[in-house]
Subunit: 417 residues, 2 copies
């Protein structure tokens, strides 16, 4: 294999011993579509070099089944036929070499599963994990040294959605988060832009090769992302973004970050696909609500309603999604009773003395007092329907904090300005 690839040695390789592994994964990544589960299983059994060698040697399906079973795995002939039937027609060493040269030209490097820079979270994709990740920019942007969160949403964002995204991304950067997104117009772009403006690290996952920034209108933005953060793809240089690759790219956004937040999304937005991946991986999933009159928020409401997403309204609540705080806060929902005493429906302007923590007895005694007419204990007790001794206990506490005062003819409530 090395001989066949000798022309492309210009691609930067960090570790000479890993040469074969790198080339093998790069080659397999050029023939298989993202998330090819049978290839993932084959690599688990015979390794990437083994799989690539069989492919280069034009192995038959029988050879492949034999190689897999000899190595302790299993495969039936039909899936071996199907696999080789998918990969072999795409094997084109000339094109592969040009893709590697292009990668070298744009400064893209391929990182592999056990590299220190590898985002550990994507390994949870199992046999659907990427074979490697092509990175332009800072290789270690997703090495786990800082918390990461995905901010995703519709391309057709509204001013509201962009405003909330801007605040959220800046607030998350302030809290030390790396902001992950998909580089698209709308919410994604704003998430990246705001993170950059706040001096933070941001990472964009693309659905095509990192040599050509997509969408074209974000070429400048993606270039700036690569200066301090990273632009990442599992596809080789030259690969065009297809709908299928966008869907597969979404699984990487969800898997490479610790939590995913959908900020604005239509009812059928692709962001729901990313959200679905996050949920399937057991990652915390947040959704930002918006006006129910806005179709651009319908997808977020759907996530809240149907997919048990957590309602998040600002960067602080998004940050809580990551780590122990968030999940437990959401699952140990408070007992509904605890909200009762904070009610204030009958408030007539005297909030000051009647804070959220007021006990039922306090509420009733204050109800029975006037700011102008002093009232005797028995009168207050009758008015609030409590015993005089219970009223006296409450009055003592309220007097201590200055909410009521004694008067020659009884008790007065202290007016709050």
């Amino acid at each position: 294999m090395r001989a066949a690839l000798s022309s492309v040695r210009s691609v930067p390789i960090a570790d000479a011993d890993a040469l074969d592994e790198i080339y093998a994964r790069a080659l397999l990544g050029s023939v298989a579509e993202p998330g090819d589960g049978f290839l993932g299983r084959a690599i688990d059994v015979i390794g990437a070099v083994g799989a690539a060698t069989l492919l280069l040697e034009s192995a038959s399906p029988v050879d492949l089944v034999e190689a897999l079973t000899n190595a302790g795995g299993s495969a039936d002939l039909r899936e071996a036929e199907s696999g080789l039937g998918r990969w072999s027609p795409r094997l084109d060493l000339g094109a592969f070499g040009r893709a590697l040269e292009q990668a070298a030209r744009v400064g893209a490097r391929l990182i592999l599963p056990n590299d220190a820079a590898w985002p550990a979270g994507v390994d949870e994709l199992g046999i659907h994990a990427p074979l490697g990740l092509w990175i332009r920019g800072r290789e270690h942007a997703l090495d786990g040294s800082s918390a990461s969160i995905s901010l995703v949403g519709a391309r057709a964002a509204t001013g509201y959605g962009e405003h909330v995204t801007m605040e959220a991304s800046a607030g998350l950067v302030d809290r030390g988060f790396t902001v992950v997104s998909g580089g698209a117009y709308g919410i994604d772009g704003m998430a990246h832009r705001s993170a950059l403006a706040s001096g933070g690290t941001t990472v964009a996952f693309l659905a095509g090769g990192v040599d050509r920034f997509y969408p074209m209108g974000h070429e400048g933005l993606l270039s700036r992302i690569a200066e301090t953060g990273a632009v990442v793809s599992e596809l080789p240089c030259g690969a065009a973004p297809t709908k299928w690759r966008f869907l597969q790219r979404n699984r990487l956004i969800a898997a490479a970050s610790e939590a995913t937040v959908v900020l604005e999304a239509g009812y059928r937005s692709g962001s729901l696909n990313t959200a679905g991946h996050a949920a399937a991986l057991g990652r915390p999933l947040g959704a930002v609500p918006g006006p129910v009159t806005s179709p651009a928020s319908a997808g977020c409401h759907r996530l809240l309603r149907e997919y048990d997403a957590i309602c998040v309204t600002d960067a602080e609540q998004m940050a809580e999604l990551v780590g122990g705080g968030p999940r437990s806060a959401a699952s140990e929902r408070r007992s509904p009773g605890s909200v009762s005493e904070s009610a204030d429906r009958g408030d007539r302007g005297d909030r000051g003395a009647r804070g959220a923590a007021a006990s039922p007895e306090t509420v009733r005694v204050l109800d029975a007092l006037s700011t102008r007419s002093p009232r005797e204990l028995s009168d207050i007790a009758r008015r609030c329907g409590m015993t005089p001794s219970a009223v006296m206990g409450v009055l003592g506490g309220l007097e201590a904090v200055g909410h009521v005062k004694r008067h020659p003819f009884g008790w007065l409530r202290v007016a709050r300005s």
Copy 2:
């Protein structure tokens, strides 16, 4: 007792045999604050007539404990002292008679727990259930013959909140619901007004006597409500609305309706108190999201985030809260995977052929086709990374629905206008 009350026989009584029960509950309701749990327990044991008789006979706490224990209940002296200490100072037969006369004057009638018109749901309040309900308007408005739902929210509503409430209330009336609320300014008022405008039945629960409509600015609205629906309170005529009574009134709104929806509410809005009662009673609780930039929606977002309220965005979803449909829809949340294929992040304007139901294979084959350049099967297979036979299967299906067509030189995708 009857002798003492002979002056107030003018109050309309439906059933002469139930006279004592009605007078007893009316009297007890005039001395106890709403939700007095000890009185509720006493009535459970010795009946309302028994409790009222003891009160009228100036029974001592020892007498009360004895009466309760003799009847198979239990009570300690301290709670008996406290109970009588609360009620006795308020016993004023003259005032009671005037309250009944006032009720007769405004056409208010008292309905009791076992009446056909009684809203069965309030019985779930147990010992905190109301002793009776004073009703102005159509007595049977809450008799369970039609589904009921509470629409509540902040007095300080925004145009957004009022708009959503208007649509929701009208939509629920269209679906046969009785709309319950609190008669307040803002969301409550809009819920009532829109229900009336749609020719529906609406019920307002007040925190004071039904002889004086509160707030004053809603006198006209509450009068109109009483024409076709009902204005209801557990307090006797003449009773002023106090903060405590607003909080207790909220439990009736939650208990008398099958589900509660909060449409707009600040972070500490009294509507959260109603929501808390609904949740405590195990009733479905909905919250309408709004812009996270609007403090008037902060309470709704809090309900979604902390109290497991169900996100509802229109009348249809609110209607689903009631009956089997709603709860199960929310608890059997769909598997996140099911959302995946509806994604469309990489869509480039050809939604038509790529509906939400497209399989992964369909997506990939369509990705590999062009609307202008016909492509051969092997070319398509290589482009989408599938075997030719798998591609052919997909093409057959797409041809049948007119999404692709054959061409002398291969296959074309059909352009969707």
